[in-house]
Amino acid sequence: MTQEISQIWVYLSASPLLGLTITLLAYQAAFALYSRSGNNPLANPVLIAVFILVLFLMLTATSYETYFSGAQFVHFLLGPATVALAIPLYTQFRRVRSMLLPVLAGLIAGSLTAIVSAVLVARLLGASASTQFSLAPKSVTTPIAMGIAERIGGIPSLTAVLVIVTGILGAVGARFVFDAMKVRDPAIRGFAIGIASHGIGTARAFQVNEQSGAFAALAMGMNGALTALLVPWITTYLINIG
């Protein structure tokens, strides 16, 4: 009996089916908790799902590569989902056009702050150079950030993780920051969360308000492009002065 079970496990642990299924199950459990908490940002579904999965994979001694062979099907949908962001963007186009100046100013200020503050704080606290490079693009969506990290000498897979953590921090903290600042405009709240924490922030914004979501999507796209242009020369400059 135990031998049969272990044989089944040998089959399952090598097939993509398991990785895909546990990703969906962990997310559903996490989302149920999030809903039950009344969409409390502290119960962020990505955070909880990742926690469940890491625990499960470590307990069953499953490698990340094996897991990802199944989870990649979910990961792949990031591409079409990014394209789909054009639709809420279109729906909110009027509001976006009427806010052109604040949008552009917020983009430039936010993008610079995200890059410079991450690198400087890490350096101040004695992080290694490759960690600093991996941190620089942490506020933009995963595929862009990984590409940037590779080009400037960071570690792309570490950057992917830092990007996710940044996204979770922003999604969890944004409401408290905006409430303390008395920022109530859903457009500004959405845009700022999209600049600071890309797709995960955007996902959170969509759950709160469609206009916030559309502005977050816009911010995420614009910041991705601007960061890709800024990071290479900012990091060169920061190293020259250091």
Binding site: Y27, V50, M58, V83, F93, S128, A192, S197, F206
Partner: protein
Amino acid sequence: MIFALSALLVFQLAGEVLARSLSLPIPGPVIGMLMLFVALVLRGGPGEELQTTSQNLLQHLSLLFVPAGTGIMIHLHRVSDEWLPLLVSLLVSTLATLVVTALVMKLCQRSPAPSKEAP
């Protein structure tokens, strides 16, 4: 749904081809998003099917980040070696970015724009 998914994939593919052939720093899906946006402006909006499918996809956008996030397990070493600079840097930088972006936008919006009604 099949039509809408195909449309999204075609735009992603076109974006990918464009990004690579012109070696743009922006990834394919983001260019695909911009192209779909332009197409929507030209066509005067998405059809019902595209609207519903993308709504379904975006409703659970956070699910799509779970596989990459789970990748933290292969970096537990570095993360535990340098956890303090990493955590403080991410915390400070994320908060600073939220505050600065929102503040700058608020200021720009409040600054008296040249009003059309003014004589």
